[in-house]
Structure formats: structure tokens, C-alpha cells
Symmetry: C2
Subunit: 329 residues, 2 copies
């Protein structure tokens, strides 16, 4: 660990946009967002993030060299090149995509290598792992040692914490439990090619594709009593609960903290179904497992990125003043 920093940087890298943020011990100082760069040389996206960090530093009246540590929340999966993490993300890397709509032939984007040319201290985590870090630092599961963040949205992703350690895995890909196989009977196909995995069964993208109707519409119709949509949503909630059950018996989890657009809008009425699926099996492990909603909403990625490199001394004052609430997203 380096000496106590005055400033820290954060990056949120998604398939459609990138956010850069800089903060000091009191609060976020500046934040900008831009469409994710998907053309040019393989270093183009990392170079874009550097340029964006330079811009937010300027907006905060700083030189880029004032930053020595940067936390990154990124869409995965990751792959290793020369011991450093790179992005092998199917909706950014042309060579990893199953469709032909990406204007590049990138295989693995050397994100960590490029960032380390500038910053001595770089932490890159999957977006759900960063979200878990945010919720443990400032959200719904503060300091909880055995908790799991789950997003139920376009896709399904997990961030895992056991015994107070956030799990990273051999290439930073721990938490891809959205691709666990749950059904040997369903013909639900996931974007990854799996048949009957959790994401194939319940993600917004895959439900929408199967019913040829946008997922938000389906869940809204379900809430309003449309019988076919209601049956589909209940079935999805049951699969979701079975997925959480599988994680709970694997990790002996205490709390699930849930986010993502499906849960944000429909967790209120789907929660009892999910809870029942978890509790109805192996009570020695599941009887005290709780299911709660994430607290940080759409700020979770930015705060998550910062939390990955935040000095522990900053956490208590930030918890008191909640300076992220002034950010406009």
C-alpha cells in the first residue's frame, strides 16, 4: 500500500458508457461520462479512460499526477495478459462478440497494463464486485462479512464476500454465477450459449427475447395482473431464488443484497417468492438468510470504483456526510 493519498480516481466501464470520477477525503470533486470507445487500436479504450481521468482532474483543479490510485468497476469477464488484467468483454471486444455489430477486432483489452503506466496502484473488479464493495462500505450491508450482491437486470451478476474477504478469483472473474446451470429441461438459451443457466432463464434480455416483448413491459404487466406475464414473472422469481439458494449453500451466506432494474422496480412483490425458494431447502444453512434491497441505486458503480481504493480512514467520515448524494446521475 502506498502512503496516504490526497485524491483517488474511479472508473466505471460499461458496454455503452464510461464514467470517470475523482474524489478527496471529503467528497467527489468531479465526474464525467462519455460513450464507450469501441474503435481504433486495442489501447483505445484504456487511453480514453486516461483522458477522461485527466479531464476530471482538470475540472477539480488538479494535475493527473495528483492521483496515484484508481479503482475500476468494469463489465467482464476479464482475462490475464502477462499477469495483468484485461477486458474480454463480449459487448466491447469484437473478437469476443457473438454478433458482428462491433467495429473492432479486439480480443483482450490491456486495461491494467495501460493504467499502470500512469498509476502505481490500480484495482480492477467486475461491476458486481465493485457494487458489493460499495454496498459494504456505504450501503445496505455495511461491514457484513458474509454477503452477496446480485444484480437482476439485462444480465444477472454476483459479487461475493465470505469471511470479510471480497472474492476475486484467479482472473478476477469470481461471481459469474449468473452462468450456473439450473435447468436440464428448459430451452432457455443464454447469450453465452448455455442452455438452462440462471441468466438464460431470467435475465431481462433473455426473457424479453423469448416473449418478444421488452422485459420492463412484461414485469409491469405481471404486476398489473396480466395472467401470462404474471406466470412468467413468478417462474423467473422462483429460478432466481433457486440460484440464490445454490450460492447460499456454496458460501454459507448471511445476507443477499439485491439490485438491478428488475429488482429495483419489482423486488417489492417478488421478494417473498425468492425468500421462500431459499428457505424451503436445507434449513441448517438457509433459515436465517436474509434478502434485502441495495441502497445506492444508480450511483453504485461510481461509489464502488472509488471504494476499491479508498483509504480506510475516509470511510467513517463519508458514512457521516454521505457526499455521494450530491452527485447527479
Amino acid at each position: 500500500m502506498n502512503t496516504q493519498p490526497n485524491y483517488i480516481g474511479g472508473l466505471d466501464i460499461g458496454g455503452t458508457k464510461v464514467t470517470a470520477i475523482v474524489a478527496d477525503g471529503d467528497r467527489p470533486l468531479a465526474r464525467i461520462t462519455a460513450p464507450t470507445c469501441k474503435t481504433g487500436e486495442i489501447r483505445a479504450l484504456p487511453e480514453q479512460t486516461l483522458a477522461m481521468l485527466r479531464t476530471v482532474c482538470e475540472q477539480a483543479g488538479l494535475d493527473l499526477s495528483a492521483l496515484d490510485r484508481v479503482g475500476v468497476s468494469s463489465a467482464g469477464p476479464f482475462a490475464c495478459i502477462d499477469g495483468k488484467l484485461g477486458l474480454a468483454t463480449p459487448n466491447i471486444c469484437g473478437a469476443r462478440s457473438r454478433s458482428d455489430d462491433l467495429p473492432n477486432d479486439w480480443d483482450i483489452i490491456p486495461l491494467e497494463a495501460v493504467l499502470r503506466e500512469q498509476f502505481p496502484h490500480v484495482v480492477i473488479e467486475n461491476d458486481c464486485v465493485a457494487a458489493l464493495s460499495a454496498e459494504r462500505s456505504f450501503g445496505a450491508v455495511q461491514d457484513e462479512p458474509d454477503c452477496v450482491y446480485v444484480t437482476w437486470s439485462t444480465g444477472v451478476g454476483f459479487g461475493l464476500c465470505v469471511d470479510g474477504h471480497i472474492l476475486h478469483g484467479k482472473n478476477g472473474n469470481a461471481g459469474h454465477a449468473g452462468h450456473m446451470l439450473l435447468s436440464d429441461h428448459s430451452d432457455a438459451v443464454c447469450g453465452c450459449g448455455n442452455r438452462g443457466d440462471l441468466e438464460g432463464l431470467i435475465s431481462g434480455r433473455n426473457i424479453g427475447k423469448r416473449l418478444q416483448r421488452p422485459a420492463p413491459e412484461i414485469f409491469l404487466a405481471a404486476r398489473n395482473g396480466d395472467p401470462a406475464a404474471h406466470a412468467e414473472a413468478l417462474e423467473a422469481a422462483r429460478w432466481f431464488g433457486r440460484g440464490l439458494y445454490n450460492v447460499a449453500v456454496t458460501l454459507d451466506t448471511s445476507v443477499f443484497v439485491l439490485g438491478g432494474s428488475v429488482w429495483q422496480h419489482h423486488g417489492d412483490w417478488l421478494a417473498p417468492i425468492v425468500q421462500r425458494e431459499i428457505e424451503s431447502r436445507l434449513p441448517a444453512l438457509t433459515q436465517d438468510v436474509s434478502v434485502i434491497s441495495a441502497a445506492l441505486g444508480s450511483l453504485v458503480a461510481d461509489i464502488g470504483a472509488l471504494s476499491l481504493v479508498m483509504p480506510p480512514e475516509w470511510v467513517a467520515p463519508w458514512r457521516n456526510t454521505r457526499p455521494w448524494e450530491s452527485l447527479k446521475v
Copy 2:
């Protein structure tokens, strides 16, 4: 952590027998085994383990007070009473059993509480977690940070290690992934009541029950080309591989180290099927996952128990001299 010990104790508690062992920095000094006590007061089994530790100490020329730390490998699951781990093991605790053949009404055996009356330093782990600790210390995955031990035997159990941390969970029950749901179609019933979980689908106990023939016979017939047995064994290996795949995408595992009687006797010809099930999905995570056999055989529980409390300085000399090999099991 206490000051450097001269002696350490180990206990292996199973449904049929208990083993106690004492060791110094050079080697195991004494070891005894007795049938698991299942009658009397709820403290009877912990008291038995204390008496057995006293006996092995005597055999080694020591007083029980020479031990200040004891590692325990035990059948689970565990439950917490007053912040200490107890055994809620269905084949030991009458109140937890689904059959009527246990001569006690125990619910949770206060193992940690009783051992802590005697020893300042007690570490209790599930038998598969202790086995993983043994294999990481002295076996097939020495110092590997991202590895998983799996036993395929009467039951199916896991010990998990991520980022160099062995996972424990809220009540020490991490690794009960044998009870993950895999099939929504099978009528395979597990001892826990689940339908279609991994253990229900493939454990020796459950396959044997389904085919009304001892599992060792089935696997031997399968190896020898009996068509029905062969189909059953291949199907079981495919389910096993799917279970490992689910764990690999959840934890971003590097190596699976496999033990248990089914694997010990039939891993040679089942391994390619298992490996194929893992590798055939989500290559970004699974392409470099390896599947190897455990190295410590039937000594894994005793060595595992000791490894849980072994001073780090003892590990290198033990690796050199392999003193456990002189133990008769």
C-alpha cells in the same frame, strides 16, 4: 495467535468413528480411533474427544495440558450456539436425523464450547474444508490460491479456497455445494429432501438406493462394460462435471482436487467426461481449469485436522520428511 506451541492436537469426527492425534514439529506422535459416541448427555461426544486426546497425549508421554491448540475435521453441518460452533450433523444428532435409528435426541452438540474449556485455541472445520487445508499444505495443491477440494463418495462435499483464503462462511458451512440444485427434471431425491441436487443425483448412497445395488458394485460393473451400469456412471460423471462447472464460474477456480471413494477408484476413466463438462461452457472462465486427484488418500482427515492449527514454520520441514506416511490407517 498464541505463542509457538510444542505440540498440536487433531480430531477427525465422523458418523461412525472418531480419531484423535497428537503431533510435534517433527511428526505425529500418537493416534487412536474409536466408534463415535451417540448416547448419553449432549456433551457426551465432545467429552469423548477430550478423553481420546488425553489418551493420545499419554501414549506420547505428555500431559493433556501440553496441548494448547486443537484442529477439528468434522462431519457437518454446523450451527452456532452463543457464538460457538456446534454439530448439527444428521447422522449423529437424533433430533436432526430423518430416520429413527439414532439413540439420542441431540439437536446441536456444543463441540467448540466444550473443547474451549480445555484449549485456548480451537479451529473446527467441515471435513472437506479440512481436507482442502491438508491438500494445500502437503498434498496435490500446495500453496495454490484458487482451488477446490471435492469428495465424491457416500455423499458429495466441497472445500473452497479463493484468493488464498479458505472459505468458512457464517457458521462454518461454506462448501455445502453438494446440495446445489442442478436438475429440474430428475426424480433423484437427496437425503436432505432436495430433488435434483448434485448429491441426490450422484452420491454413492443415492445411486445405490436408486439402483438397489451397492454403488461400488455399480461403478465396477460400469468399468467392466456392463451397459446399464456404464450409462449410469457416465450420467453421474456428467452431473459431477456440471456441478464443478457451476462452482468454477461462481469462484473463478483454477484447480479442482478430487477425492472420495468413487473418484479414488474410478477417476482414471471418468476424468475426461468431467473435464469436458467443465470446459464446454464459458471458455473465458473454464479453459484453463484443471482437474487432478487428491494426494493424501485416507490420511487426509487426520492431516487436515492438524493442518488447521499447525504453525507455519512446521510446514516446510513436514513437506520434506513426510512424517504422516508412517501412520497406519
